[in-house]
């Protein structure tokens, strides 16, 4: 189980640094360091088992339906990478404490760094490839945050964006590739997939999988032609460059290729893609590095070149090359991270990292100069350092490869890249440190405190130690890791030592060193040669593509989404019509054969009334009161249709909703303009009419096609199980509160949200310009009596009766038409009648519960009912019922579904009350002045009872 914690500790530990940021930078650093080291310690607990040759597995299922599991595994490769990530991470954490200035938010920096660290460890330890993709994306995101850490600098923002676009885009391709891989391999667990290499290579999908996976790996590891993002990522603070962009994240792509090596490598296709890409990257990176003046840019392009080297080695597909690659990953991490940190020290102390303004620093900062000099020598591949050893192995491996039938192409390319490598390494070291001291550095340079150079020194000690005693120090690690890369095949013969005799690699190496020094001498001439050539500027091209994409998106958005509702809706409606028309013309559409029901006179009359009402609405929609009345008529006819076609619940619901919404619209209309300006544009009416008629015809045809076809339904189950399973005979209600109660639960929440939105919209309308407009609306009395006596008396007398009806409808709902929705609407109507008859102030004063409480209570009761089933170990919202004998009353049925229905009831009452009471409140503001406060025409007795009950006395 330790293994699960290894990525989780940094991921969750990322919360700690911001919390400790106020305790000082040292405390924050120590906390962050403790997080990383505890993760490393847990990881190393598994090391003995891995080095005995076991594979450590840990984790659990997550979403088995889609093949996602939370499983980790550590073999030689995973352990190697994870150790490297955590160990270098620890050094970087110390270094960053001294690198960042007081103005930088160190808590935020460490949080991002730990987030990245956890994600990166997650990539290399994931057993499940979908899990690995999640971590993969997480590294892209955290890298974005880290590159853009200095968000005030434009270069930082642009670099971060470019890195995110390139690596994020590659991540999407990789996702597709991995899903295909899992599909073909029959498992999403790497530990299984690694044994399925033959199946996958034989699959017709293999080329596609390979292309997608390589796209992900190449973008992440900055391979040509995607290499351009890495140098721009150097806008990040130097600790980030040293960590993400040399030692760890950019190696994720190399890791992926190594991880999937047994599955994907060894085919001609693999060879003919991966080797050329690696070789070209190696040459292009080294060549550009030679001409850069910024220390970090030199290192960035050098990193590109070395990543190309690793990719090429993996591409060769021979076990020997795989060993060389593993060894070089280790060596590159040590010397390149050291060099980045050294470049950061120079920048920090001298105030510039432009090589043209540097030189002569050896006397001023001797410690840094020695460390950087050794690391540069290793980068150049000089003996007796570790860079020399792996470069020799690389040259040795390159001899065996033949590209495009040309046996010399790979070795010559490799030697050339090594040559340029020597040249830029020499230039880096000599240009920065050699020569006489200058007097025009921006700052006065001197060696930094031990906190900054110690991490560099530790890495340089490794550089030398591995160089001198490779078999002793790196031997077991390389053997175990390389074995994990090449899978079941036996390890090839190789020897980690400085002297191999007079091999071809030695001569290539000597040629590279001599040529490199000569190239350094002729740097000026080469630079002139280079500037004479046209060369593509990646950043400008990238920005141009992005700008064009944004412009295209904006153009489309502005055309499709104009600030005019009719036009937007017309676009949507016409688009739907076009799709419908296409389907209509491309598929058969004969009339169905289901027997039709006979028409009778009542139905025909109702139909005629509907046509007439709808027709008048279309013609007279400027007369808004009439429109509203006719709309209610249409609603009533719809309810009649529900009764006719055996849907009593729907009819009850429709008719109560009709009452509520008509009142609501009336109230709103009171404040809105009552008439509309005449529409002069006939052309527009014709256009809209055509769209409307086409839409109507389409829907009618569709409805008719459905109605005249037989069908099979899943409702038979509901009908059969309603009584025995749900304990109710009203099948519709049982579906609502039992079979599909989760839907209903969601729906009452939506209702509640709508009510709250209405409240928010109207509550704030009592301030600002809206309130001023309301005040200006005050009109004279339209009727002598604002609260007519008969209405007041009638509604109050009705209240308890309507409540009784509501309770009755609620209780019978499980077995007969009714239920929470309808009962809620009925009770709400009773309340609203009080607001209408007696005014907002009077009613509001007497309301015991406001709408918020009712909505909240309803949702909570329904939710708790659902949670209750967990107590009995059943899924959410499982219902239960039983029959109980109660003295006098007799046997009654109690079902948990009724508690749920109570929640529905309360939510509906609350929603309606909240909506209408708020509108009434607005009305009261705009009402005739003076606004009647309290019972305008009725004097109440003191301590008035709850609304209803006692008859009011006239005042």
């Amino acid at each position: 189980m330790n293994l699960i914690l290894v990525p989780l500790i940094p991921l969750f530990g990322a919360l700690l640094p911001p919390l400790f940021a106020r305790s000082g930078r040292d405390t924050t650093m120590l906390v962050t360091l403790a997080v990383t080291l505890s993760s490393l310690a847990l990881l190393l607990l598994d090391a003995p088992a891995v080095y005995r040759g076991e594979t450590v597995l840990a984790g659990t299922a997550w979403v088995p339906e889609i093949g996602l599991s939370f499983r980790f595994f550590a073999d030689g490769l995973g352990l190697f990478f994870a150790t490297m990530i955590l160990a270098i991470g620890a050094l970087i954490i110390v270094y960053a404490r001294y690198y960042l200035s007081r103005q930088d938010s160190i808590g935020r920096f460490y949080a991002y760094l730990l987030l990245f660290q956890g994600a990166m460890v997650g990539i290399v330890l994931s057993d499940n490839i979908i899990l690995m993709l999640i971590f993969w994306e997480l590294t892209s995101l955290s890298s974005f945050l880290l590159i853009g850490f200095w968000g005030h600098a434009a270069a930082g923002r642009q670099g971060a964006r470019m890195a995110l676009v390139v690596t994020g885009g590659g991540g999407l391709l990789l996702t597709a590739g991995m899903l295909l891989l899992g599909h073909v391999g029959g498992s999403y667990e790497l530990s299984v997939l690694l044994t399925k290499g033959d199946v996958i290579k034989a699959s017709p999908l293999y080329p596609l999988i390979l292309a997608l996976v390589l796209a992900g790996a190449f973008t992440k590891s900055a391979q040509f032609p995607f290499h351009f993002w890495l140098p721009h990522a150097m806008a990040a603070p130097t600790p980030v460059s040293a960590y993400l962009h040399s030692a760890t994240m950019v190696k994720a792509g190399v890791f992926l290729l190594a991880r999937l090596w047994p599955v994907l490598a060894g085919t001609d296709l693999w060879f003919s893609i991966v080797v050329p890409v690696g070789l070209v990257t190696m040459l292009v990176g080294a060549w550009i590095a030679l001409f850069k003046d910024d220390l970090k840019a030199i290192l960035a392009y050098s990193t590109v070149s070395h990543l190309g080297l690793m990719v090429m080695l993996l591409g060769l597909g021979t076990p020997y090359a795989a060993v060389a690659c593993v060894f070089h990953i280790l060596n590159h991490a040590t010397f390149k991270a050291a060099l980045f940190m050294a470049a950061g020290i120079v920048d920090h102390e001298a105030g510039t990292r432009d090589i043209r303004r540097l030189g002569g620093l050896a006397k001023l900062m001797p410690v840094t100069a020695v460390l950087a000099g050794i690391a540069s020598a290793s980068m150049a591949g000089l003996p007796p350092l570790n860079g020399f050893l792996s470069k020799e192995m690389m040259l040795e491996a390159s001899v065996s490869g033949s590209l495009a039938g040309l046996g010399w192409l790979i070795p010559v390319g490799a030697t050339l890249a090594a040559l340029v490598s020597v040249a830029y390494s020499v230039r880096l070291a000599v240009g920065t440190f050699a020569g006489p001291a200058r007097h025009d550095y921006p700052h006065h340079p001197h060696d930094p405190g031990i906190g900054m150079w110690l991490p560099v020194a530790l890495l340089v000690v490794l550089v030398v130690a591995i160089g001198l005693l490779p078999a002793l120090i790196a031997g077991p690690i390389v053997a175990r890791t390389a074995q994990a890369v090449i899978g079941a095949a036996p390890l090839p013969y190789y020897s980690l030592s400085l002297w191999h005799g007079f091999t071809p690699a030695l001569f290539m190496s000597i040629a590279a060193v001599i040529g490199g020094v000569l190239a350094f001498q002729g740097h000026g001439g080469l630079a002139r040669l280079r500037s004479a050539w046209p060369r593509p500027e990646a950043k400008a091209m990238f920005e141009a593509v992005i700008t064009a994409a944004v412009a295209a998106a904006r153009w489309f958005t502005l055309r499709a989404n104009v600030e005019s509702l009719p036009r937007s809706i017309a676009i949507i409606a016409v688009s739907v019509l076009v799709i419908g028309l296409w389907a209509f013309t491309h598929f058969p559409h004969a009339v169905g054969t289901r027997a039709m029901l006979p028409v009778h006179v009542v139905a025909l009359v109702a139909w005629g009334a509907l046509i007439a009402a709808a027709g008048v609405v279309v013609i007279q929609h400027g007369n808004r009161l009439l429109t509203l009345v006719l709309t209610s008529v249409v609603g009533l006819i719809v309810s009649l249709a529900f009764i006719q076609f055996s849907a009593p619940d729907l009819a009850l619901t429709q008719i109560s909703v009709e009452v509520v919404s008509t009142i609501l619209l009336l109230l709103a209309l009171n404040l809105l303009p009552k008439t509309a300006p005449a529409e002069p544009q006939t052309a527009r009416k014709v256009r809209d009419g055509a769209i409307a008629v086409a839409a109507g015809l389409g829907v009618a045809a569709l409805a008719f096609a459905i109605l005249t076809r037989d069908f099979s339904t899943i409702s038979d189950y509901h009908i059969a199980q309603s009584k025995p399973g749900g304990g109710g005979t009203n099948i519709v209600n049982v579906i609502l509160v039992d079979f599909r109660a989760f839907d209903t639960y969601g729906e009452i929440i939506v209702l509640g949200i709508a009510a709250l939105a209405i409240f928010a919209l109207l509550d704030t309308a009592l301030r600002g310009p809206a309130a001023r407009r309301l005040d200006s609306m005050r009109q004279g009395l339209e009727s002598a009596e604002a609260h007519p006596l008969i209405l007041v008396v009638a509604t109050r007398a009705m209240l308890p009766l309507v409540f009784t009806v509501g309770v009755f409808i609620f209780l019978r709902g499980h077995n007969q038409p009714g239920g929470g929705f309808i009962a809620g609407l009925v009770v709400a109507i009773a309340y609203i009648m009080q607001y209408m008859a007696s005014g907002y102030a009077w009613s509001h004063q007497r309301a015991r519960f406001d709408g918020h409480t009712l909505v909240g209570a309803g949702v909570i009761i329904a939710g708790l009912t659902g949670l209750g089933s967990f107590v009995f170990g059943r899924p959410f919202l499982t219902s239960s019922f039983g029959y109980f004998d109660i003295p006098l009353i007799g046997q009654i049925e109690l079902a948990t579904a009724m508690a749920f229905d109570t929640g529905v009831f309360l939510a509906v009452v609350g929603t309606v009350l909240l909506a209408l009471a708020q509108i009434s409140r607005i009305e009261a503001r705009a009402e005739r002045s003076p606004v009647p406060d309290g019972p305008s025409d009725i004097r109440l007795p003191q301590a008035a009872p709850q609304a209803g009950g006692s008859l009011p006395r006239e005042g």
Binding site: F645, P648, L672, I758
Partner: protein, 125 residues
């Protein structure tokens, strides 16, 4: 009967679409109400039409209307109410705020706003 129902659904939809394309808020709200009628009836119709067969479980019943579309439409009716209420309140607030119940800006004004937006974005570094 199927012809009547199908044509009614079509009519309700057509009226709804026509009203939603109007230029003031109130017809748009009424249009959504009509569209709700049409859509609810349409959903209901997917259970086909049945007379005198309410989905109330009873021994010896000849048959039942399909209860599932009914359950879906029941919640849809209530949700439609919630939506109508929200839209009408939105219309009310927008009228109180701006003094106009129009739902469209003149196309020229829209283009101007867009052009201004583009200029500001480009000015940013």
């Amino acid at each position: 009967m199927e012809v009547l129902v199908a044509s009614a659904i079509g009519l309700l939809t057509a009226v709804g679409v026509y009203l939603v394309l109007r230029r003031q808020t109130f017809p748009v709200v009424i249009g959504t109400v009509f569209l709700s009628y049409g859509v609810n009836l349409f959903l209901f119709a997917t259970g086909r039409l049945a007379v005198n067969q309410p989905p109330i479980y009873a021994a010896g019943a000849a048959g039942y209307a399909d209860p599932l579309p009914q359950a879906l439409v029941l919640t849809a009716i209530v949700i439609s109410f919630g939506m109508t209420a929200l839209v009408v309140v939105l219309a009310l607030r927008s009228f109180l705020e701006t003094g106009s119940d129009s739902v469209e800006d003149s196309p020229a004004a829209a283009d101007e706003t867009a052009a201004a937006q583009v200029t500001t974005d480009q000015a940013r570094p």
